[in-house]
Every structure is written in C-alpha cells, then in structure tokens.
C-alpha cells in the first residue's frame, strides 16, 4: 500500500514568483516525514506539489521531477485526478462536506470512482472510521451532518474520508493547528497507527509535534520576503533535533527565530 516519493530539483512557482527553489528529498514508505520551518518558507507549497494540488491555484506551476515509486507524477500521460486519489490529503482547517452526513463524507471519495453496494460501503465506513479512531464516537449518528462534530472529530472524519479510498500516501498540512491539545493528542496517536500502512508527510509549525510523531524531519527556510524558500537539511528526526548540521536548523529548533 505505501509508496516512496522521490523529489528532484523541484522549483515551484506562483505565476512568475518563485516560491520554492531546488528541493531534493526522499519520503520513505511506512514512515512519517515532517516538514518544519518558519511561516512562508514553502512547506505547504511543497506538500501540495506532491499530489498535484498545487496546480489548482491559477498560474501555479513547477519544474523538476516527483517520482512515486519510479513513476513521474508530472509525466505527460499522467492524470492529476488519479494522482490525487492515490495520494490523499488532509487540510489545516477541518473541511468535511457540510451538506453530507458523517456516512456520506466517508464514502464521498468512493462514490466518485465506482458504484458500490451498500453493504460494501457500510464496511468501508466502519473500517475507515475505526482507522481514524472515530468509530466509537459516531457509530450511533452516522446520518447526522459532519458539522455537528467537534473540531477534532471533524479532522478525524477528514482523515477517515481520506483513507477510505485507500491511498498510497497521506499528506497532512498542519492538521492539528486548529485543534485543542486533547484532540491534537488523538490525531498524533492516530498518525502513529497510520504509519504502519501509509507513507505520511506532515507539515507542522510545532516542533514538539514533529519530534513526537515523525521519523524523518525536513527543515525549510527562507532568506527573506520575496526570496524563494529552500530545503536546508533533512535527516532522521533524532539527528535534526539532537545534532543538526546546519546553523540555521539549530537556531530554529532552539527557538532563536521563527
């Protein structure tokens, strides 16, 4: 199920603005990779290039190559729609579809792809909600709108929705930044479990969180406003937080800026 991502010489543009320059990195399967760095350094931008969500922004484009197990997802005959159903995404702000029930939210992705029998859908709903540690809390009110849930529950619903279509990779852009500490803890535990099956990339501005959940950490930085963000260094999380090799990384994790 899990696949490896290999990014080489990635430049990312918004129109003519070069937002991120020269990124080379590898995301290992069945592990959690964290992107950290100060605001505006391009963490979200890079994350969104990994499932071709970036190009949804008008004028946005990239240069470089991104391989998903040896296949270039930006290849000429690749359909971005298929890339996005292979590489799922969870956003900063929980965004369940407000017009759908909890059940409807979980099956939204499956319903796009093929007609499925009710009994199969029921199974997917249960396993995805269990996978997102939400089943016990919502099993009696699957027909209620997703908006009745708390923020943390909504975010887990979004995770359930993303894993329901069995992606190879799960991208998360600051999934806890809108949540309280208890919900955050629940999501972090969930990430721990999910990495048995999925390749996970998580953007976080919270360094303790990166230290807690990730195996590998990539530190991005930006030289100044208007300058492109760059990947400064990437290493095992233990190394980044224990003995970073770049001065900028050390300054950042010790809280001297950013």
């Amino acid at each position: 199920m899990a696949k490896r991502i290999d990014v080489s010489d990635l430049n990312v543009y918004y129109g003519t603005f070069l937002a991120v320059e020269g990124v080379n990195l590898v995301v290992e399967p069945r592990a959690v990779t964290a992107f950290i760095g100060p605001s505006g350094c391009g963490k979200s931008t890079v994350l969104r290039t990994l499932n071709r969500m970036h190009e949804v922004t008008p004028g946005a484009r990239i240069e470089g190559k991104i391989l998903l197990d040896h296949e270039n997802i930006y290849g000429p005959d690749i359909d971005p729609v298929n890339v996005r159903s292979t590489i799922g995404m969870v956003f900063q702000k929980p965004n369940p579809f407000p017009t759908m029930s909890i059940y409807g939210n979980v099956v939204a992705g499956i319903k796009l792809k093929k007609r499925t029998k009710k009994s199969e859908l029921d199974d997917v709903v249960e396993s995805s909600l269990r996978g997102a540690n939400l089943w016990e809390e919502v099993k009696d009110r699957l027909d209620r709108p997703g908006s009745v849930l708390s923020g943390g529950q909504q975010q887990r619903l979004c995770i359930a929705r993303a894993i329901a279509i069995q992606p190879q990779v799960l991208l998360m852009d600051e999934p806890c930044s809108a949540l309280d500490p208890i919900s955050t803890l629940a999501i972090e535990e969930l990430i721990h479990e999910l990495k048995q099956q999925y390749t996970i990339v998580i953007v976080t501005h919270n360094m303790q969180q990166a230290a807690r959940v990730s195996d590998t950490t990539a530190f991005f930085n930006i030289a100044g406003t208007g300058k492109p963000g760059k990947l400064i260094e990437m290493n095992t999380t233990a190394n980044i937080f224990g003995s970073p090799s770049e001065k900028a990384t050390e300054d950042y994790i010790s809280g001297r800026f950013g």
Binding site: P58, N95, I165
Partner: protein, 322 residues
C-alpha cells in the same frame, strides 16, 4: 466623566439598558411587523375590492374559462388565466433555469479568470433591461424569425400535444411568450446562482479535488449541494418575475380565454396581461373581477415562495450554515 473613567469604579454586573441594542432590536422587529402587515393589508384590500364582483358572478370563479364580467349576468373565471400563466412560466423556467445555472457555473468556475467578470457584468446588465424592450424584441424580431422553429417542432414532434399546431399559424403564442419570459428571467437566475457558486468555501472544493474528483465531480460533490438553497431561491425569484410579468406578455399574446395545450398556436392569456389589457374598458363588476384575478395571482406567488422556503428549510442541518 472622570469618575466614570477611573479604574476604581466597577461596572455594575446587573442588567443594564443598552439603548443602541434596544433601538436596533426595535427597528428590526418593527420592520418585520410592517412587512407582514403590508402583505396582509394588500391581501385584505384585494379581497374587499373583489367581493362584490365575486358575489355577482354567475359561474364558478376558479374553474370557468369565460370572461364576461360586465354582462347583465356576470360570468368570469380564472381557469384560462391560471392555465396560461402557469404554463408560460413553467416553460420559461424549463428553459431559463438550466441555461441560467450553466451560465452561472461557467462564469464562476470555468471561464478564464480575465474573462469571467466581464461575462458576469454583461449578464447583470441584461437584468436591468426594461421588460417593454424584451416585449418589443419578442414581437418584432423573435416572432418573425422563430416561425421556422415552431413549424419544425410541429412537423417532427407534433405527436406530442404540446408541440402540435393544427392552425398552421405560429405567431403570438404561449411558446413565444415563454421564450421571452425565459430570456427575461435568465439574468435573475444566473446572477443569483453565480453569487452562491462563488461563495462555496475553497476548502470544500479542495476537499473534493483532493479525493480525486474531476472538475465536474467537484461541482457535484462540493458546489451544488452547498449552493442548493441559493439555486432554489434564484429559480423562485425568476419564477416570481415570470408569473407577474405583464407588458411583454400582453404585447406578444393574442389574448383568448381558452385552455389550449398547443403552445405554438396563437392565443392564451395570463393574469397580469389580462389585467393590463382589460382594465381601461372594464365596468364596475369588470374591475372587481380583475382584482379578484389579481388576488389569485398574489396567492399563487405567495404559495410558490412558501414552497421554496420549505424546500430550503428541510435540509437546514446540512446547509453548512454553522
């Protein structure tokens, strides 16, 4: 003053009168009451003016198709008017709602960014054209140029009663009026639904895309469900305008008091057009009869709007309003 500002003075914890809040609450409650009162008063006024005529009527008001209110034995009924009004409005909706939603969807989510605002602006301008202009256009341009189309419908789809034309005259028909109505309500439908399409939170659209939805699937998953109440309102406002449109319809139709399903044949009539055409020549009972028909139109419009509200409210929990 200085005493008020000094920190030692604790603000009292009891209920204080907040004059601006109170004024605002008063104004909004007052406006609500005024609106309700006005609506009730209009209905009561119409009824009061219509009652003498309704009492004098010698045929059933709701089911008769005759219109001789100023006869010594007054005979008038609204069946033909209701038929013509509803049929022309429904046909207009069938044309205008899909096209209007399509235009709205195109301007909000498909058109190139530089081009979209201009297109939206042009559609909005169309809404400002006075209806007499649409009527004249329908009479002078559309009518002579659409004869071939109606004949084609007659020849190829004539087995459907709606398109059948046994008179071989294809002018001044309900169909023609309906097309003009459709063009008139198109900007209303599309301007309002464009606004609601634009209000769909980007987060929902991104959520759909990230699940692997195509552009059209994104519309179906995230945009239409969210915009549904607004789409219903847009359609209903359009319908309201079509039901009440007077001058354009009066110009185009050659008024008859009959129920004729052959919509491409001349004839037909509507409440509003009939009132406009008959008002000046009407006697005492005639005026009362016209007012009575106006009351029915008023009730129909009201019912349509209530029905729309019910549709919108029924799934309120799922509206995303919270």
């Amino acid at each position: 003053m200085t005493q008020l500002l000094s920190p030692q003075v604790q603000p009292p914890l009891g209920r204080s009168s907040r004059p601006r809040d109170a004024a605002f609450a008063g104004i909004s409650r007052g406006s609500g009451i005024i609106v309700l009162f006005t609506m009730g008063a209009i209905g009561a006024f119409l009824l009061w003016k219509a009652l003498p005529a309704l009492r004098a009527n010698t045929v059933p008001f709701l089911t008769s198709t005759q219109w001789f209110p100023d006869d010594p034995q007054p005979k008038f009924g609204i069946a033909a008017l209701a038929f013509g009004t509803l049929l022309s409005s429904v046909i207009a909706m069938v044309i205008a709602v899909p096209v209007g939603l399509g235009v709205a969807l195109y301007t909000s989510h498909y058109a190139p960014r530089r081009f979209a605002p201009t297109l939206g602006y042009v559609v909005d301008l169309l809404a400002a054209v006075p209806s007499i202009i649409f009527g004249l256009w329908g009479l002078q341009i559309l009518m002579p140029n659409s004869i071939g189309l109606w004949r084609w419908f007659d020849q190829h789809l004539g087995f459907i009663p709606l398109f059948n034309n046994s008179q071989n005259i294809y002018t001044r028909s309900i169909a023609l009026a309906a097309v003009v109505l459709a063009i008139m309500i198109l900007p209303t439908v599309s301007a309002i639904s464009r606004e609601v399409f634009n209000q769909v939170p980007p987060g929902h659209i991104e959520a759909a895309l990230a699940l692997g939805a195509t552009r059209w699937e994104t519309m179906r998953t995230a945009v239409f469900p969210f915009a549904r109440p607004g789409m219903v309102s847009a359609a209903m406002l359009g319908l309201g305008r079509a039901l009440g449109e007077t001058i354009a319809v009066a110009l185009i139709l050659s008024a008859t008091f009959s129920i004729n399903w052959h919509v491409t044949e001349p004839g037909g009539n509507t409440f509003a057009a009939n009132i406009a055409l008959k008002w000046n020549e009407a006697g005492n009972i005639g005026l009362g009869a016209l007012i009575a028909s106006g009351l029915v139109l008023y009730i129909i419009t009201f019912a349509v709007n209530m029905a729309a509200r019910v549709v919108v409210e029924r799934r309120r929990d799922f509206s995303g309003a919270n």
